[in-house]
């Protein structure tokens, strides 16, 4: 089992790694041979949306997912606190600037990235159903609101996730894959069936687990037309 990064953050400001975060780590670990085969000896541009504490990106850098020496990691978050926490967590786990290529970018999802560049997209979204998606706070100091942004996903908890799924073709490189986490209330089976029917994506369940009263799952999206590779 690959080691989990050591995390020491102020959880009044960033999301505390929880069952969902660990399920993402386990999914990536489970898929290591799939990823290695897909990106062997080639560069992989990794993009994590909403890294929060930085646990997932640090896990990938530290354990060389998919490969330490040829990967470039972008951590994109809307919250300034999350970006600072991600940098700190990487440092705390000895992923130094010297030998890992991490860039943190303050960005609303991937709207700041040039198209079709991300090889591995990882997204643990704000998936909790809520009346509305919270507004972006106007100052850094509104820490509660920044935290709400990390949690609340509007109707069915799917408003933000759906935006990313709709943009996948723009975001992912020709051989790119995306790992996205869902909770049962997001109705992922319905979504997956609809996506597979109407869009050129192959969607596979990588891991699922009951976590308290929640059932969480991580799905892998890849282009169904693999002949372009």
């Amino acid at each position: 089992m690959l080691p989990t990064p050591y995390i020491k953050c102020d959880y009044d400001k960033v999301y505390e790694p929880s069952e969902d975060s660990f399920l993402v780590l386990d999914s990536l670990e489970k898929d290591i041979s799939f990823l290695n085969e897909r990106f062997q000896n080639q560069l992989a541009i990794v993009g994590e949306i909403g890294p929060g504490s930085g646990i997932v990106t640090t896990f990938m850098m530290k354990n060389g997912v998919p490969s330490k020496s040829t990967s470039l990691y972008f951590a994109l978050d809307i919250s300034p606190w999350a970006l600072e926490a991600t940098k700190e967590t990487a440092k705390l786990n000895e992923c130094s600037e010297k030998d890992s290529y991490l860039e943190v970018i303050q960005s609303d999802l991937t709207t700041s990235l040039r198209k079709k560049q991300v090889d591995i997209l990882v997204f643990n979204p704000p998936y909790v159903p809520a009346e509305d998606v919270p507004e972006v706070p106007s100052t850094r100091e509104e820490t509660d609101q920044w935290l709400d942004l990390a949690l609340l996903g509007g109707k069915d908890g799917m408003v933000i996730t759906q935006k990313v799924i709709d943009q996948l073709d723009y975001i992912l490189s020709p051989k790119g894959v995306a790992y996205i986490l869902f909770c049962a209330r997001n109705k992922p089976e319905e979504l997956v069936a609809k996506v597979m029917e109407t869009q050129p994506w192959n969607v596979e369940l990588v891991e699922h687990r009951k976590a308290g009263w929640e059932v969480l799952s991580v799905y892998r999206f890849s282009r169904s037309n693999e002949s372009i590779i």
Binding site: L72, I105, S107, D108, R114, V136
Partner: protein
């Protein structure tokens, strides 16, 4: 933010996506503070790989914005096998390493050539968020 990252950032305004001017962003040389970090290790394998993905014309533009006009006009074509690099190719890779990975913009600003929106880099972190009326 590493120089390399300028090759991946575009304007966040979605209406600019149909324009060819939303990438690369235009860096204001007089306001960008550059820092060299010589501790960053030289990894020829990474450079050879990333070279493949790089949009060379954008590298030239950003380098010129920041006052460096000494780059070759065309993307260097290098032997893909790390062990078979000639001495000359090694030198090219070293230069690229210095530019792309060791050079960082720690403070600065850049704007979209299409809509003119200005973005800032503070503490090495680029901020590509839009104000509510543009988001």
């Amino acid at each position: 933010m590493k120089f390399l990252t300028t090759n991946f950032l575009k304007c966040s305004v979605s209406a600019c996506d149909i324009s060819n001017d939303n990438f690369p962003l235009q860096y204001d040389g007089s306001k960008c503070k550059l820092v060299q970090n010589e501790d960053i290790e030289f990894r020829p394998e990474f450079l050879l790989n990333i070279l493949d993905r790089i949009e060379w014309s954008a590298i030239l533009q950003v380098a010129a914005d920041l006052g460096n006009t000494s780059l070759p006009p065309n993307k260097p074509k290098l032997n893909i096998n790390v062990d078979e690099l000639t001495e000359e190719e090694q030198i090219i890779l070293r230069d690229l390493h210095t530019l792309l990975l060791q050079t960082s913009i720690v403070e600065g600003e850049m704007k979209c050539k299409n809509c003119g929106h200005v973005y800032y880099i503070k503490n090495s972190i680029p901020n590509l968020l839009l104000p509510p009326h543009l988001a």
